[in-house]
């Protein structure tokens, strides 16, 4: 998976492209550390380029959410589609996260 990172003031924009699976956990390690240091106020993760998401990746997103909640950071997931959207529906991610279609 490719991850484009854009930091503007206290806002972190992540644009993910490709398949989001377990192997991508290393991309999120520094991000999780930054969240713990309360570096950002807002995080937006754009998922429009993600064609497939596995259960480990869902676990990573849940960890990002827990950390964000703990540090009062607003987290928004953007534009899930196809398999990702279906997975979000089945796992009730729409109730847990702020998701902008």
């Amino acid at each position: 998976m490719e991850c484009k990172k854009n930091i503007n003031n206290n806002e972190l924009d992540l644009t993910l492209i490709g398949k989001f699976t377990f192997v991508d956990h290393s991309i999120f390690k520094p991000i999780l550390e930054d969240i713990e240091k309360n570096t950002f106020n807002n995080i937006t993760i754009n998922l429009s380029g993600i064609e497939f998401i596995d259960s480990a990746a869902l676990g990573i997103l849940l960890l990002v959410k827990d950390s964000s909640d703990k540090n009062n950071i607003s987290l928004v997931l953007k534009s899930p589609s196809g398999q990702v959207k279906k997975m979000f529906e089945v796992t009730r991610f729409y109730d847990l996260f702020t998701i902008n279609d």
Binding site: V23, K29, S55, G59, L62, L63, K86, M87
Partner: protein
């Protein structure tokens, strides 16, 4: 009113009287037949009412059977408890939701553990570097102690006490070297275990559960289809049940209507009685003429009457009346004529 056949002389009947006699005998035949017909109708109607009653009972049973099917189709039995299809769908849904929730929980915890083990490996690597630093310092301390021992021996008697201290330092650095070597070995063991755990966890976390999660959607679709089909089936069964109830009601209405058949019987018997009175007066009038009329079998009016009587039984009744009371010419041919038409004219027209 029975006239004596032998005593009365035979004369040709005047046309009006003849017609009147034919009319009287025809009426008499019809009037005599009416009570029999009425009684036959009555018995048939009683039979019909009984049959309808049985149909009404069967239709009600059919309705009850359909309602029972609705109950069966609409429910399932789980652990001896009867619950509706919709409830069972909710149970299945909740069970799958729980399973999906557990998969997510495990995925989150596994990823958390992966990150924690990576942190632990990093910390172990730092400790390893620190131990290496300690080993470096120990080596230098050892060299220093060696140098001190050499310098102490040069100083001779004065350096004796210093040589003891230098030796102690040397022993101390040896112990630290052994200790740091042990520490390094222990760190290596821990490092290996953590790395193994990390690899195992990675194996577990990379098992993709997404297809298991998507099972929920498939089951959801299947259950939704089953429920829709069930609803259609139940609607149709309910419709069938209400049609059966309506039919039973209609049939009961028909049975009530049929019970008024005794009124028809009374009418027919009454009419027959009235007709017989008229006939009696007519025949008395003809008897008063004191003559026995001769009726020809080929008589036009009589043939017309016979042609209208389709049933041989009625023809026979009329013929018998003529044979019994009147002077009819060629009576054998009358009987033969009646018999010849029997086979085809007696056929009952079926609908």
């Amino acid at each position: 009113m029975k006239p004596d056949k032998q005593a009365i002389s035979t004369v040709s009947a005047p046309s009006q009287d003849k017609v009147m006699l034919i009319a009287a005998r025809t009426l008499q035949s019809v009037a005599c037949d009416l009570p029999t017909s009425a009684s036959e109708i009555e018995s048939k109607i009683v039979q019909l009412a009984e049959t309808f009653k049985q149909i009404a009972i069967s239709t009600q049973d059919q309705g009850a059977a359909v309602r029972k099917i609705v109950d069966i189709v609409n429910s399932v039995q789980i652990d001896g408890e009867v619950i509706s299809m919709r409830q069972s769908f909710e149970i299945v849904n909740k069970t799958i939701d729980d399973a999906v929730g557990q998969i997510l929980f495990v995925s989150k915890k596994a990823m958390n553990m992966v990150y924690n083990l990576e942190d632990a490996l990093e910390s172990l690597s730092s400790i390893d570097m620190l131990v290496k630093d300690v080993q470096k310092i120990t080596k230098q301390t050892n060299l220093l102690a060696l140098n001190a021992t050499i310098e102490a021996s040069r100083a001779g008697e004065l350096g004796k006490g210093f040589a003891v201290v230098a030796n102690e330092v040397k022993e101390l650095s040896k112990e630290i070297a052994t200790l740091s070597k042990n520490m390094k070995e222990k760190i290596e063991i821990i490092n290996n275990s953590v790395r193994k755990s990390h690899n195992t966890l990675q194996d577990i976390a990379t098992i993709d559960m997404s297809s298991n999660i998507m099972v929920k959607q498939k089951i959801d679709d299947i259950m939704r289809n089953i429920l829709t089909q069930n609803d259609v089936l139940i609607d149709n069964l309910n419709m069938s049940s209400s049609i059966a109830a309506k039919n039973a009601n209609d049939i009961n209405g028909v049975i009530v209507d049929l019970q008024f058949q005794d009124k028809i019987s009374q009418h027919l018997t009454n009419n027959s009685d009235a007709l017989l009175v008229i006939i009696k007066h007519l025949l008395n009038h003809l008897d008063g003429k004191d003559c026995k009329m001769k009726i020809d079998i080929n008589d036009e009016e009589l043939q017309e009457v016979f042609s209208k009587l389709k049933l041989s039984e009625l023809k026979q009744n009329l013929t018998n009346l003529f044979l019994q009371y009147d002077n009819i010419s060629n009576p054998e041919s009358v009987i033969a004529a009646n018999d010849s038409g029997k086979s085809d004219e007696d056929d009952v027209e079926l609908f």
